[in-house]
């Protein structure tokens, strides 16, 4: 780990990762051992790694898997669900499974086609649906906090994109913790300071079987492009990604980034249908999408 000027053997690496995670959980006041955590698990290395770490640390962590109905010729959703269930069974953990197609009549790719969102790719609909459903289930099932497996590369790529476009509202919202609000569960990212490479190494050394295949729709995505650019920078300047993210967090916290901190909260109101906060004038984006889908006669 050149960014830390640190090299560890397998045994110590498996101790170091949970120790660091616990340090970040406490540093950013993510949650305590008395709170109930819902971990969003996709079957990938980060979310399964996170679930494993939280359980090893003694936190009360249950899993949530969202069945997205993505096939892409590799049976992507079925395989990721199988690996998630396998992990939960082997560790005797509680896993909630929600099938989007059963809940809303259509899979993610079909929802995307029907609503014409996302310029021919279902990623925008997928992101919207996942955010909505994760929040709904965390809230409905009484969890204190929703944890996702976002790693430093994910965070740095989002930050890079938002900085390129100077998306002030998004920059103000980005961080290891998104506090709970009216209808919004607290969201936390305990892995936000680990490189993607470190999480891959953790799963390999720990023997966690995860879905190696990429989501078939991720190819050519903007976030992967940004990650590649940042990795080019990291190769010549070890630690650049970490510094980029941490200095951003410092600047945001100190208030030197932007002045109006509560800009986003000021005009949020509950969606008349689902009750989740939205800045749209009437129904939230998700409910509008479902309304549109439901207005199309079933074929």
């Amino acid at each position: 780990m050149r960014q830390h000027k640190l090299a560890l053997c397998k045994e110590h690496y498996l101790e170091w990762v949970p120790e660091q995670t616990d340090r970040f959980i406490k540093k950013y006041n993510m949650f305590t051992r008395d709170e109930k955590i819902l971990v969003a698990v996709s079957g990938g290395k980060d979310s399964l790694g996170l679930w494993d770490i939280l359980v090893r640390l003694g936190y009360q962590a249950d899993g949530l898997y969202l069945g997205l109905g993505i096939d892409g010729g590799i049976d992507y959703s079925h395989e990721s669900q199988r690996l998630t269930e396998k992990f939960a069974n082997e560790h005797n953990l509680k896993l909630h499974i929600v099938d989007i197609e059963k809940e809303y009549r259509q899979s993610i790719p079909v929802l995307s086609q029907m609503t014409h969102r996302g310029h021919g790719k279902p990623c925008a609909v997928c992101g919207l649906t996942k955010r909505h459903e994760m929040n709904r289930i965390a809230r409905d099932l009484g969890y204190d906090v929703l944890a996702t497996g976002h790693n430093l590369d994910d965070e740095a790529a989002v930050l890079f994109g938002n900085t390129l476009s100077w998306s002030g509202e998004y920059l103000l919202r980005q961080g290891p913790v998104l506090p709970a609000g009216d209808g919004l569960a607290r969201k936390v990212k305990p892995l936000c300071r680990f490189y993607e490479r470190e999480m891959t190494a953790y799963c390999l050394v720990r023997g966690i079987e995860y879905i190696y295949e990429e989501c078939p729709f991720a190819e050519g995505s903007q976030s992967i492009y940004y990650k590649e650019l940042l990795n080019q920078l990291e190769t010549t300047r070890p630690g650049a990604k970490l510094t980029f993210y941490l200095r951003f967090l410092e600047a945001r916290k100190s208030g030197e980034l932007f002045v109006e901190k509560d800009m986003e909260q000021a005009h949020l109101h509950p969606c008349p249908n689902c009750g989740q906060p939205t800045s749209a004038p009437d129904l939230c984006s998700f409910c509008r999408m479902i309304e549109k889908v439901n207005s199309v006669p079933a074929s």
Binding site: A7, G44, K45, D46, C123, C126, D153, D154, A157, Y195, E196, R197, M199, T200, A201, L204, V205, Y212, E214, C215, F217, A218, S221, S223, I224, K227, E228, N231, Q232, E234, T235
Partner: protein, 63 residues
């Protein structure tokens, strides 16, 4: 020769160079992969020997 395998692609490099040099020669970003030999992770300064097969595990995911 030394064979590097990344997903469905194969690369060949001359033995005697470090893993880091082999990755650079193959135009693979070192930050984007983890290298394994017979299931064990290896470091960037490891010298690659003739006949070895190095499996590269892609670490980038997302969409």
């Amino acid at each position: 020769m030394v064979k590097l395998i990344l997903r469905d692609k194969e690369y060949e490099v001359k033995p005697g160079m470090t893993l880091l040099s082999a990755l650079q020669k193959s135009e693979i970003l070192p930050e984007s992969v983890i290298a394994t030999r017979e299931g064990e992770m290896i470091l960037e300064d490891e010298i690659l020997k003739d006949g070895e097969v190095i499996k590269l595990i892609a670490v980038i995911s997302g969409g």
